[in-house]
């Protein structure tokens, strides 16, 4: 294959004291990939995302983004190179309205955010794009509303909108449907269906409906190591996977 992978991970390892939370993990995401990452609680899924995004330093391993090595970079530098994430627990700016949350991310992407004087046209441009992005994800109506007053499902949508606003090459979705009442899961399903085709996406999710609908490939993580990877149907049928994980849930 000539073109470099959107994201390529080799031998990623991390120990917390004697506990190994990531054991030589290898993962490849090609452009436009839709990969699901599953595993029981404590398997190291969120740790893996934190390692990828630079919120935790790995002990060993290589991470390449579009062929460029990034494991030595800080979290914010990785974001600027095209690796974005959403958080399992919302980390929104709760005092701002939804549109400003997206606009602040756009200002950062466009490198307006160092501007100290008012520069209205640039900020207006950020606001307009922010509104367009909210509409694209089916949340155009919440732009004016203060985030702390939004229902949880809408906040989850906003997390995704902010991730997309960074125009990432790779987007890591950390449990986008977590905590959403079942009456609102369709919002997330629709948002996921509308994600741009060229972005490589790694999705972590406990909700198997979401995973099996969305992912073309699934990686099973168990005790910090990749247990298995394959097509969703194969994963669902695998006895070992069922034993460690799926067996405890209704598929």
């Amino acid at each position: 294959m000539s073109a470099p992978m959107a994201l390529s991970v080799r031998g990623l390892s991390k120990n917390f004291g004697a506990i190994s939370v990531a054991k030589s993990i290898d993962v490849d995401l090609e452009a436009g990939a839709r990969v699901g990452l599953i595993g029981p609680n404590g398997a190291g899924k969120t740790t893996f995302v934190n390692l990828l995004t630079g919120f935790i330093r790995p002990d060993a391993g290589e991470i390449s983004l579009g062929g460029e090595r990034i494991e030595g970079l800080k979290a914010e530098e990785r974001v600027r190179r095209g690796l974005a994430r959403t958080h399992q627990i919302n980390t929104l700016l709760t005092e701002e309205n939804a549109r400003d949350n997206v606009a602040i991310a756009i200002a950062e992407r466009e490198k307006f955010a160092w501007r100290m004087m008012r520069c209205k046209p640039q900020w207006r441009q950020c606001l307009e794009e922010a509104q367009a992005r909210l509409e694209a994800i089916g949340a155009g109506a919440i732009g004016d509303r203060r985030v702390s007053l939004l229902p949880y499902g809408q906040q989850r949508l906003l997390e995704i909108a902010i991730g997309l606003a960074l125009k990432p090459r790779v987007l890591l979705l950390d449990e986008p449907a977590a905590g959403i009442p079942s009456s609102e899961t369709h919002l997330i399903h629709e948002a996921l269906d509308r994600l741009p085709a060229d972005i490589a996406i790694l999705i972590i999710e406990h909700d198997m409906d979401v995973i099996f609908r969305f992912a073309k490939e699934i990686i099973v993580l168990f005790q910090g190591a990749v247990l298995m990877r394959g097509a969703p149907a194969d994963i669902a049928a695998d006895p070992q996977v069922r034993a460690v994980y799926l067996g405890r849930t209704v598929v």
């Binding site: 958080h87 980390t91 700016l93 400003d100 602040i104 950062e108 955010a113 900020w123 509104q131 732009g143």
Partner: protein, 338 residues
């Protein structure tokens, strides 16, 4: 844009935090400052002091209010600015403008270096380090008698007329106007700063630094930048104090000075800029009036006011204005509300 474009914001642009200002709201404090000059001639010295504290509180609002840098060390910058301006006038040049810029430069540099040293920490650790820095500065000011006059204070400051024209008169007319102009310039800078994309990112860092890193914000650099600007501003206030009184007392570097400016800011309201005006003014007015009753009484009154403010007025005394405006049928901010 087509369809439901963003709702046009008010003419004053996109605000952060609570409080939108009408033109009247903007004009009011400056009209008061101008009126004071013409009406209360006997108290110009007091008015100058209040404006200097307003500027100092304004500098703290940038760091503490907007960026969420919880510091008790701002007296280090205020005091350093005062000493720098005073020492410059004694040993180098009596030009007040030159001395003022020198003081700003020195404090900005000190803010940059001390910020670089301690801004990687947060919370209580950071607070302790700011206390350490201001304590060290105090002790240096105390020990370096040859330069600072130690606890006798720095005396013998002499100033040329501003631009060679406006002499610092005994009645404080020049000092008052000079201070008002400097305050206005800094206020405009601060206002534009907090409403810029840079200011929005600081507000974001205060609310959730992790979120800001996740959208690619170099959090440490942003904080260092505003810390430096805030230091320069506090140093400017110190320089004004040295010039207006032609004296620098060691107390400018004391922890109590940091405490007083923090009380003023919280009393008036953080993240509002004009909160610094209200807080410093009220503090001084209460001090003047109640001290006539008993020399210790004013601290009691200020204490009660502070407790009441913190308990009942989330946004400081400025909140009272907001509530009043709302009662009068002012438009509620879209998506806002406390």
């Amino acid at each position: 844009m087509s369809a439901p474009t963003p709702k046009p914001t008010s003419p004053l642009g996109e605000m952060t935090g609570p409080g939108r200002f009408s033109l009247v709201g903007h004009a009011l404090p400056w009209l008061v400052i101008a009126a004071f000059y013409f009406l209360v001639d006997d108290y110009l010295g007091l008015g100058t002091q209040v404006m200097i504290w307003v500027l100092f509180a304004l500098s703290l609002d940038l760091a503490l209010g907007y960026a969420g840098i919880v510091t008790l060390g701002h007296a280090a910058f205020y005091g350093l600015g005062a000493y720098a301006a005073g020492i410059f006038s004694i040993h180098v040049s009596q030009d007040p403008i030159l001395g003022h810029f020198f003081a700003i430069g020195v404090t900005a540099l000190f803010g940059l270096l001390s910020g670089a040293l301690i801004l990687h920490t947060t919370g209580v650790t950071f607070l302790m380090l700011t206390l350490v820095i201001v304590s060290i500065m105090f002790e240096i000011g105390n020990q370096a008698r040859g330069l600072t006059g130690g606890d006798d204070g720095l005396q013998g400051i002499r100033l040329d007329p501003i631009f060679g024209v406006f002499d610092f008169d005994l009645w404080g007319h020049t000092a008052y106007i000079y201070t008002a102009v400097v305050l206005f310039i800094w206020f405009v800078i601060a206002w534009r700063l907090v409403h810029s994309p840079f200011g929005r990112s600081l507000d974001g860092i205060r609310q959730n630094a992790r979120r800001m890193r996740a959208i690619g914000t170099p959090v440490w650099w942003r904080l260092l930048a505003i810390y430096t600007i805030s230091a320069a501003m506090a140093g400017s206030a110190g320089a004004l104090s040295a010039h207006a009184t032609k004296f620098v007392g060691l107390s400018v570097l004391s922890l109590l000075t940091s405490g007083v400016v923090t009380v003023m800011l919280i009393l008036g309201g953080t993240r509002r800029l004009y909160g610094a005006f209200i807080g410093a003014a009220i503090y001084y007015i209460v001090q003047e009036w109640t001290a006539q009753i008993s020399p210790y009484f004013w601290e009691f009154v200020v204490g009660i006011m502070l407790i009441a403010t913190v308990l009942f007025l989330d946004g400081g005394l400025m909140e009272l204005g907001d509530r009043g405006a709302r009662l009068l049928g002012g438009r509620r901010r879209a998506g806002g509300g406390e």
